[in-house]
């Protein structure tokens, strides 16, 4: 009985994750739910804009009656300005930029939450985020 007592006491006292820190667990759940809700809202908003709004962007310069701001710098400036507009407008681009942030957080999450704050994981997130973004897709400029 004495040999089993410590284990028994240990089992009886182990309240599980929720029992140990219900406030922290609920806070994490709430944070996760808020992130999911925010991403869902962004997704719905992007879809709504892409599917419902009339696409007049290809004629925007003509409608405004002036050239693109960087057009005086030649093809490079015109492409930069046009591509900037695409990045703001296309849901695909917004998703890729969001994905970049998610990948950085996901790669370094154990460094943030874990007991060992190893810098390598933070650096790994910096390595893997840029190539995972949308601009690594070759057809962006094809």
């Amino acid at each position: 009985m004495t040999a089993l007592a410590p284990a028994g006491r240990g089992r009886a006292r182990d309240p599980g994750l929720l029992g140990r820190a219900p406030g922290t667990a609920l806070l994490r759940l709430a944070l996760l739910a808020a992130i999911i809700a925010a991403l869902g809202w962004l997704w719905i908003r992007s879809l709504g804009r892409a599917l419902v709004t009339a696409d007049t962007s290809t004629q925007s310069s003509r409608i405004r009656g002036r050239a693109l701001p960087l057009a005086r710098y030649g093809l490079r400036g015109a492409v930069a300005m046009r591509f900037w507009i695409y990045q703001r407008r296309e849901p695909e681009s917004l998703i890729f930029w969001g994905l970049t942030a998610v990948i950085m957080v996901a790669v370094s999450i154990s460094s943030i939450l874990g007991p060992v704050k190893h810098p390598a994981l933070l650096l790994m997130s910096a390595v893997f985020a840029p190539p995972s973004s949308g601009f690594s897709t070759p057809t962006r400029s094809a």
């Binding site: 650096l123 601009f135 690594s136």
Partner: protein, 156 residues
């Protein structure tokens, strides 16, 4: 948009780099500093920024190479606002992303080695040197497509 010759293509790709860099540099820097702050090591934000810059330069360079070498058609299909690779080209996109990830991981090694070798140096000296050096490395990596072109045309 019609591109007349090599110069036009170069200007086109550079224009894209400018637009992407304007978005990516502040975004990646902010995330790196945010993650470092949450992890309780704010100083790592500078290290993350240095690696960000190097990885960004390499990613942009590789995307240029893949754009020329591995370009493929895309189209918009009914029911989705996202463009998708045309039929028969599905593996091209995945190959481009995986190839870019692999090449960037290799290209970022010098910066990571520099971070490790200067680990014992004081941050006041280390960080102001590392971040500009990483930016310079990023700019140099942007010349990678031209170096590849020169290498491909060279006769051994």
């Amino acid at each position: 948009m019609a591109l007349a010759g090599r110069r036009g293509l170069r200007s086109y790709l550079s224009g894209q780099d400018i637009a992407l860099g304007v978005i990516a540099i502040p975004l990646l820097t902010a995330i790196s500093f945010g993650l470092a702050a949450v992890a309780g090591r704010p100083g790592y934000g500078f290290l993350g920024m240095a690696v960000d810059l190097a990885a960004l330069g390499a990613a942009l360079a590789m995307s240029k190479i893949f754009t020329v070498v591995l370009s493929y058609p895309m189209d918009k299909r009914a029911g989705s606002p996202m463009r998708q690779a045309s039929q028969g080209y599905g593996s091209y996109g995945l190959g481009g992303v995986l190839g870019t990830v692999a090449c960037v991981a290799v290209a970022a090694i010098p910066v990571i080695v520099a971070l490790l070798l200067t680990n014992s140096d004081p941050s006041v000296v280390r960080l102001p040197v590392l971040v500009p050096c990483a930016a310079a490395a990023s700019a140099a990596e942007d010349r990678l497509p031209e170096l590849c072109q020169v290498a491909a045309r060279s006769k051994l």
